[in-house]
Subunit: 141 residues, 2 copies
């Protein structure tokens, strides 16, 4: 319930569609596309417009309250930004995603690449794909 504070403190209103988007994503464990979010909200009784869903996803993402996650097919979805971790590992079978730590280890790689390429590195996109414990134990993979 911290995102409400973040929004109001920056002068944004707690409009109904805005709250519904966050509420909808809060108990999802897989990245959701704008369309899927809209449909899901509708099923829960919302009458928010698709345009409003897009608008709020953009805002919430810009404010760092949501994270963008690509599924194995390259489709962009959103998840709530829970921890300080920016990276996700995503199940190829059920698409369930969890954040992981370990940016420290990336920094070694980054320093090496900076030396190798003469670029200054200031950001990165990293996602891992694999199979989650549940799908493994159920024999799906």
């Amino acid at each position: 319930m911290n995102w409400q504070k973040a929004l109001t403190e920056q002068g944004y209103r707690l409009s109904t569609p805005r709250k519904q988007v966050m509420a909808y994503l809060e108990n999802k464990e897989k990245p959701m596309t704008p369309l899927a979010i809209h449909q899901g909200m509708r099923q829960q009784g919302s009458n928010a417009s698709l345009a409003s869903v897009y608008r709020n996803l953009e805002l919430l993402y810009t404010l760092g309250l949501l994270r963008a996650v690509y599924d194995p097919e390259g489709n962009l979805g959103y998840m709530v930004a829970s921890g300080g971790h920016y990276h996700h590992i995503l199940c190829k079978f059920c698409h369930k995603a969890v954040e992981f730590s370990g940016s420290e280890d990336l920094s070694m790689l980054i320093r090496q690449v900076e030396k190798e390429t003469c670029y200054d590195v200031s950001g990165h996109l990293l996602q891992l794909y694999g199979y989650c414990p549940e799908c493994k134990s159920k024999g799906f993979v």
Copy 2:
């Protein structure tokens, strides 16, 4: 000129649009979107259709002759797959991209994440963003 062999050996024809797509990408140092590729080819006298560009990008990517690269805004582009390296570092200013090695270092991170999350990791998406030597020396950044 190795991609021609790869295509024919797998039973694909060396059609004019197909060759033009590869030729067009071969001397580009930034990832190009399908639309940009089509426009660029037109300027070089090609009359390939946009649909054909899409079709061939998909094929060439599937065969591993092209790599998919996301620019800092998340737009998908393509580059020729030059080495055995699958990752790119991309300049935020001029979008110039180069491949880098160092998957070895990722494997350490991957093992750690597997232990932490109980996922089996079987693939990953990694791109670095920053500023290239040229843009730095020209004072653009």
